[in-house]
Subunit: 382 residues, 2 copies
């Protein structure tokens, strides 16, 4: 099985979240480093996180590797004091010989905070599949790191392990925080409060994308391994109870045995579904089920003709799909990368699923018009 | 580090080749199962291989998992006798409820052969980056498994551990075998020889694709890990001698320290190059160097503007690129899948590199006109 956390730079937001959860459960000390501002086009954008422990372990990359050493050093007083710190790393080089916009130059602000109860509302929301926004004082007339957590319904949680934000700050930013939570974006704002001006970093934190793989054959292995590796929470569902052995799918977070017609119950608007049972009737029932769910991506393995047969058979049973439903079906499944090996087929499928969840088409970036990072990035005001 | 061989179905042709090499070196017994014919559109195509040992280990998937058990059984007499066997698996199901064209139905012919000296010419060619074709009797008036190996210059190697092909058979098929070797395709032909009619399976075997990653920062980790996982032979090259520690890049097959202007010496027509040194001058020298090589893919990390700066600076030094050279440059690097985490950036880069080596554009398969598998498949004659 892929150990996605063995290389710190291969760790995903899901890995970081799980490490945070385990630190909170065990009560062991930890720190979180977050990029809160970047000048120029960076390798990681604001909101990128790394979790650190006093033993020097770190998980997640906030630059391409150039800052992780200094950030490990920066975390040491945080373990000792429990107080957040912030540091501006100015890697600009006057002679212009260094890389442009690759995260090893530019100016990067990094906030390092203790793993304290200010994370509990975040972790609780992620556990139930909800988004949140953290609102954190990074400058001005409030203690550094003063925090509130805003849920998508506008509810505000305030931690007791550190200072709260001054009166009025959260109210002033609440609608924008809800928007950041819902879209997974960030914003920095300076808010005028009775106590003075406070600059807050608002960080929308979304649950990991989910992949629901339907099928019990060994070829689900490469797909579930790779999906987990790139940051999906992975469920393998099989119609064959005898196959639903978690040890057969070591990368899966959950292994289910179910009736194909019930598959849709396990998919929502964050779920990429891949149908690869190798059984036409099972795939047919599963397809009809997941197209009734909110799953934005439904990959169906097999040639076009198989999908046409499935459609005809469902139509004979009175099941017709709307245009909107058909638009969510990816068959033949995957991006057009031409690989024939099982792990290359998996690469093709997982890349397409991620692209569709991100609203992309999977073509080459060099041919893309406009910004690479798309519309989800919010520019900070000055 | 990713252990790409822990899951047999995630093993690549490169893994299979390396296991074969180690079995030949150690003299331990082994067998190779190869798909030699398929009726219908299958999960794996002819030429797909699995290597097996008497202990029941197997590496590589020749179907989606439905046949691997029977093939393990089929290999047992091969270990005992050293004689090849062939079996037709007819998984057709009359009631049409089973999957169409997903490799768990249809008719599949599997040849199981011993790991004997008939593989040595194949392994020697792959080790030097050359392609070969094996020509193997699968039916007719020749011993099953009788073999010759044809190199791309037409040279024929004949093993001593098993029967050779009847006189005239190799000569009749030699030009076609050279073509199969050069294109990585297969063909089956019935050849009339003095001894009678012999049906041969001609299997073009190509070396693994190569990825040459230029850069010594930790963000090369996710790229080299993932490239190795999907079947690339990976070299990490760095201009910083102090970074050229193989332990820093555990997935790399080779770690080099070199001058950027010499990078092109390590690239040929099978090499996908990724420039990610984060140093503009180094990337500039490396780019000019690899564009003089035959590398068909040169990914350059960073925004478009950085490439324009690099071009201007090279032009000032008198280095101008031809249209053909520019067509090989991928910048911004990667497929458009919208992921921002290091491992998602790696997914985007590795997918694009594989697509380009396969002559694809990386868009969605459902939008592709014509056959999914493209023009490299050769249909067997009857």
């Amino acid at each position: 099985m892929y150990q996605s956390t063995a290389d710190p730079w291969s760790a995903t937001a899901l890995d970081v979240k799980r490490r945070l959860s385990s630190l909170r459960e065990s009560g062991e000390p930890g720190a979180v480093a977050t990029v809160v501002d970047v000048e120029g086009s960076a390798y990681r954008r604001p909101g990128a996180k790394m979790v650190l422990t006093p033993e020097g372990d770190h998980l997640g990359g906030i630059t391409a590797g150039c800052l992780e050493g200094p950030v490990v050093d920066l975390a040491n007083p945080v373990f000792a004091s429990g107080e957040p710190v912030i540091e501006t790393f100015d890697l600009m080089d006057d002679d212009d010989e260094w890389g442009l916009g690759l995260g090893c130059n530019g100016v990067i602000d990094v906030l390092v905070e203790p793993v304290d109860d200010s994370w509990d509302a975040v972790l609780a929301a992620l556990d139930t599949g909800d988004s949140v926004a953290t609102v954190t004082a990074v400058d001005g007339d409030a203690p550094l790191g003063a925090r509130a957590v805003v849920e998508t319904d506008g509810t505000v949680a305030t931690p007791s392990d550190r200072a709260g934000l001054p009166d009025g700050v959260v109210e002033a930013i609440r609608d924008e925080a809800v928007d950041c939570a819902e879209t997974g974006t960030w914003v920095a704002r300076t808010v005028s409060a009775e106590a003075g001006d406070v600059t807050v970093f608002v960080d929308g934190v979304e649950p990991a994308p989910e992949m629901l793989v339907f099928g019990g054959q060994p070829d689900t292995g490469p797909v579930s391994n790779l999906a987990r590796h790139v940051g999906f929470a992975v469920t393998v569902a099989t119609a064959r109870g005898g196959h639903a052995d978690p040890e057969r799918f070591p990368a899966a977070d959950e292994v289910l045995s179910l009736r194909p017609a019930n598959l849709g119950e396990h998919a929502d608007e964050r779920t990429a579904v891949v149908l690869m049972s190798h059984n036409k009737l099972d795939d047919e029932l599963a397809l009809a089920s997941v197209l009734e769910s909110d799953a934005p991506y439904v990959g169906l393995m097999g040639p076009r003709e198989r999908f046409e047969q499935i459609r005809e058979e469902l139509a004979a049973d009175g099941v017709e799909f709307t245009e909107a439903q058909l638009a969510r079906v990816a068959t033949p499944v995957g991006l057009d990368i031409g690989g024939g090996e099982p792990v290359q087929i998996a690469l093709s499928i997982v890349s397409e699923a991620l692209a569709v969840l991100n609203g992309r088409e999977g073509g080459r970036l060099r041919d893309r018009e406009g910004a690479i990072h798309g519309e989800r990035e919010i520019i900070v005001d000055d």
